[in-house]
């Protein structure tokens, strides 16, 4: 009897979680569609993709990053969650939909969920090694905005100029001008000095997504020189 009750309670909890934190309606085809968009974003750094999926209840995380989690995480992956995004509901939803393990150690995480505010360049995420550079953490970061247009039109100079693999000439990306966003982009700029070790980042803003892998050269848009 006690077991029946416990099962009932667990079932109700599961249903509550899945109602609040939506999964993919058609896992095989939805995850394929989302993955192709993520692959497109990663192979052409700075291009914007809009992911179509039901939004999660957390505005701070946003639909795009939730889509990345649902597409890429499973019981083989470890996820680190920054304090400002962490909640029992998110942990439950992650466990329910993906089976991913939550870790407290950024260095052992395959994916890290955080907001731009929480980013600190000193966080010891895994960068991979020179022999296995692929064994690094992929950062999923919620940012203020995601735009490609030149910021000169708006009278500010926040954007960053990206070049390198996946970019024909150069591409502007503006993720916002908070101190956190600046820390993020300068950290990405530092990737070149440690290549092939480095951090790959996927940015989300609502349903919009862009990626900047470690191969990208990042400079201030208002800087004269582009390296």
């Amino acid at each position: 009897m006690a077991q029946r009750e416990r099962e009932n309670r667990e079932r109700v909890e599961r249903e509550t979680v899945s109602a609040a934190w939506p999964g993919l309606a058609d896992p095989a085809h939805d995850s394929q569609r989302l993955f192709r968009q993520i692959l497109g974003a990663m192979s052409e750094p700075g291009t914007l993709e809009t992911l179509v999926l039901p939004a999660p209840p957390s505005d701070a995380l946003g639909a795009a990053l939730w889509g990345v989690v649902l597409t890429l995480c499973d019981l083989e992956t470890r996820v680190w969650i920054a304090a400002d995004l962490d909640s029992p509901a998110l942990r439950q939803a992650l466990a329910f939909h993906t089976g991913a393990r939550i870790t407290d150690d950024p260095a052992s995480a395959d994916f890290a969920l955080l907001t731009h505010d929480a980013f600190d360049p000193e966080m010891p995420f895994a960068l991979g090694s020179d022999t296995y550079p692929d064994r690094g953490t992929t950062l999923l970061v919620a940012v203020e905005r995601l735009e490609n247009d030149s910021n000169e039109a708006r009278g500010d100079t926040n954007g960053w100029r990206l070049s390198g693999p996946g970019i024909a000439d150069s591409r502007l990306l503006d993720i916002g001008d908070s101190p956190g966003c600046r820390r993020l982009m300068s950290r990405l700029g530092a990737n070149r000095t440690s290549f092939p070790q480095g951090l790959d980042m996927i940015f989300g803003c609502g349903a919009r997504l862009a990626a900047v892998p470690r191969s990208t050269r990042v400079t201030r848009a208002d800087a004269k020189e582009v390296n």
Partner: protein, 277 residues
């Protein structure tokens, strides 16, 4: 097809390959180890390429499969039928109409466009393997960017034959960092790797490695200042379409020494003949 997941592979395997693909794209030319699965075809028949294709393919994609440029050879036909059965996708032979092209040993003559994905079947992904048999050593050589030995190999060609005699699987350097085996494509196709608007993915099933060249990436073929990289040239034009700028196969037509040169890219040859007619 009943009893199988969409595109044959289970979702868990696809996710593992997808995560590896993202790292491969982030580190152009670096070989990412992945948990290669047994496929219902023997190693050497494109099991690596098939796993990559299965992981990226969607129900709306149009798939083209070529083997040495041809759509109608055994390997191409069987892989095309495989995906028709397990994914129910539309297939084509037209390079321009395809979203995903799986290829064995050629890059189509028709320029690829942005948004297309070219999936290469790779037998030996490690360009240094025939020089250094130890995986540990080659991995260290890549880490230290110690590629002098590859130039020694090319130099030995020059010492022996007077020119670089490597004609296929000609090593390239991707974005100035990793030396990469472009799979056994003829070196004629190497210039097409450079700055290509399409995404290029490479899968080796037996060796369980995958790697990538993102679009618009600098890809240089290794060479020497006094022996610059050159591609093959033919004195003939294609006997069927008259092309004087495509990669030609020599076909023996009888036992009297008769032979003809024809385009290896069948779609390119046919579309040219269609235009002329």
């Amino acid at each position: 097809m009943n009893g199988y997941n969409f595109a044959y592979l289970d979702e868990q395997t696809k996710r593992m390959i997808r995560r590896a693909l993202l790292k491969a794209v982030a580190i152009p030319g670096y070989q990412v180890p992945f948990g290669g699965r047994e496929m219902p075809m023997p190693y050497g028949w494109g099991t690596g390429g098939v796993q990559l294709t299965a992981s990226i393919l969607g129900a709306d994609d149009i798939l083209k499969v070529i083997d040495q440029g041809a759509d109608d050879t055994t390997n191409a036909v069987s892989i095309r039928h495989f995906f028709q059965r397990v994914a129910g996708v539309e297939t084509t032979t037209a390079t321009t109409a395809a979203d995903v092209i799986q290829t064995r040993h050629r890059i189509p003559e028709t320029p690829l466009r942005a948004g297309q994905i070219l999936v290469f079947q790779v037998p030996i992904p490690e360009p240094l393997r025939f020089i250094e048999p130890s995986e540990q050593e080659t991995r260290l050589m890549h880490a230290l960017e110690e590629y002098g030995v590859m130039h020694v190999k090319l130099y030995e060609d020059i010492a022996r034959y007077g020119h670089i005699a490597t004609t296929y699987a000609y090593p390239v350097k991707v974005d100035g960092r990793y030396v990469m085996d472009p799979s056994p494509i003829p070196k004629f196709d190497n210039p097409k790797l450079d700055g290509n608007p399409a995404l290029m993915l490479f899968g080796a099933g037996r060796e369980k490695r995958l790697y990538a060249i993102p679009p618009y990436t600098r890809v240089e073929s290794l060479d020497f200042e006094d022996h610059p990289f050159e591609v093959q040239r033919w004195e003939h034009a294609c006997a069927l379409c008259g092309s004087d700028h495509s990669y030609l196969d020599e076909v023996i037509t009888d036992d009297q020494g008769g032979r003809m040169f024809v385009c290896s890219d069948t779609d390119y040859c046919q579309s040219r003949r269609g235009e002329v007619a």
